[in-house]
Amino acid sequence: MPAFSAPVQNLVDELGRLPGIGPKSAQRIAFHLLKVPSEDALRLAQAIVAVKERVTFCPRCFNVAEGDLCIVCADDRRDPSVVCVVEDPRDVVAVEKTGGFSGRYHVLQGALSPIDGIGPDQLKIGELIARIEPEGISEVILCTNPNLEGEATAAYLARLLQPLGVRVTRIASGLPVGGDLEYADEVTLGRALEGRRVVESAAPAQTRPARADQG
């Protein structure tokens, strides 16, 4: 015998399908929605409808977009010769927050994972290759996640891109800035050691007189 009436059970089931929502949370959210005023619940419903009706994927880079091109592709101050390849639109947001990248993006919409049935055909890989020549792309930055599937995807893309004569780079891995060494896990710290760099002893010449003044 079902514990709830059909509409409630439906809502619980639908919520339970969302990522990160288990059966208990689904129930809690469903009963919360039953309890709040109608307009609050309807606002949520309308937000979902609006997202599905108005938001599309950018036909060029497959980032989320409203209307035609996404906000990055539509910005003609961006450098079209450098493309940053990410797995997910959320990663675009993450890279944008750095403010350190002025090129365009390409969103693969996933990473290679045969277990989940995701091969090259399920990702926007052909679309990336097709962009290289017409857009005059000279560098592709592989910005997939530093986990097994992300690394495999990066390696796969490198194989396809290198024959095309573009510069292919991979983001570095290492320690989070502002963190403490002792809190770093062994693998990250190991990678950071592997990727160490020579310290440039570039004390600019003009600092010398300044120090002499102090002394």
């Binding site: 290679l112 045969p114 091969g119 495999a152 693998v187």
Partner: protein, 357 residues
């Protein structure tokens, strides 16, 4: 380090048990069959690894009829004491706290309880199939060179991804699939080679320790040979490329660290086929004790030594030599029969009345 106190609630068949093992000597856990002697060791090992050494799902650690099992321990190293609390719940997620803080990754447990476990099933390392030897070796890698332990998980994950890809191909390879396979092969070759090398390094460190331990246990000089047998020659990437046609037909990866083995010899003779049962048990125990010594060396303090039902495995003479062999440190052992008189028992816990003596 040593375990100052241990408290169990609804763990296996133990409703409630609390005791303080001897800090540096031998604590004997005794009682009739089925009273939970092994469970006491299992609980301590759980604090060390978040796993049961019996290889069962966590839920089976909860006493039948109860909803959660709780294990609390206090580990002392030098002047520092660290509380480690574990809860295995049937209703919610299992959790573990070190000094009241949730454990997020394996290395968070480094300051807590460390343990070396020997159980009668360890004889499988000598007598059984290659999987038992690989498991023993991977345990040793994780204990002696924890940084290398990440390769164990990477290899498992790549193998699962590669198997899914091989099955999906139905034996046919087009250009796209070949490139995708190349990419996974590259990952497998890198992690697989690193894992095999880590295992080889641990083995060559174990061999002299094992020889010394067997010699002490038996009272006669016996050379223990530990030879790693890779399932491939040359580079793993080349071997994977050469084996690809076979792999596609079988839908599984036929070379790699998951197919490697260790050849164990006593004075040059294969222990699996030529050693007596007693010799096999002694060798299995010596391998564990050798790992214990290496771990003691790395941690600069001995882990807690947990010996399950060790006297049923050894004669009196070897049992006495065993305790002379182990490096000084806290030892807990279970036995259904009285320990040999030569064993220096510092404390005894008698199970069976539902409480500790």
């Amino acid at each position: 380090m040593y375990l100052r106190s241990l408290t169990l609630t609804d763990f296996r068949c133990l409703r409630e048990l609390s005791f303080e093992p001897d800090p540096e000597g031998v604590t004997v856990v005794t009682g009739p069959n089925g009273t939970g002697k092994t469970s006491v060791l299992e609980a301590i090992a759980y604090l060390a690894t978040q796993q049961s050494f019996r290889g069962v799902p966590r839920e089976s650690l909860v006493r039948v009829g109860a909803t959660a099992a709780v294990v609390r321990g206090v580990a002392v190293a030098g002047e520092r004491s660290v509380s480690v609390d574990a809860e295995v719940s049937l209703a919610t997620r299992s959790r573990m706290l070190v000094n009241g803080q949730p454990v997020r990754r394996r290395s968070d447990l480094d300051n807590g309880v460390q343990a070396t476990v020997f159980t009668p099933e360890d004889t499988e390392v000598v007598r059984g199939g290659p999987a038992a030897r690989r498991r023993f070796l991977d345990d040793a890698v994780a204990l002696v060179t924890p940084v290398e332990a990440a390769h164990i998980e990477t290899v498992e994950r790549v193998l699962r991804q590669r198997a899914a890809l091989l099955k999906r191909s139905h034996g046919h390879v087009n250009g796209d699939l070949a490139t995708t396979l190349d990419v996974w092969d590259q990952r497998l070759a890198a992690a697989g080679t690193a894992l095999s090398e880590a295992r080889e390094r641990v083995l060559s460190a174990l061999a002299p320790e094992a020889t010394e331990t067997v010699t002490q246990l038996t009272g006669s000089r016996t050379a223990v040979g530990l030879t790693y047998r890779r399932s491939w020659n040359g580079s793993l990437e080349d071997a994977l490329a050469a084996g690809r046609a076979d792999d596609l037909v079988r839908g599984t990866t036929l070379v790699g660290p998951h197919r490697d083995d260790v050849e164990l010899t006593l004075d040059g003779l294969a222990a699996r086929t030529h050693a007596s049962q007693g010799e096999q048990r002694t060798l299995a125990l010596a391998l564990r004790l050798a790992t214990h010594r290496l771990a003691t060396h790395r941690l600069a303090t001995p882990p807690v030594l947990l010996l399950d039902d060790v006297f049923s495995e050894l004669d009196h003479h070897r049992a006495a030599s065993l305790l002379a062999t182990v490096p000084p440190g806290q030892t807990l052992l279970t036995t259904a029969v009285p320990p040999p008189p030569t064993v220096p028992v510092a404390a005894t816990i008698v199970l069976g009345q539902g409480a500790a003596a």
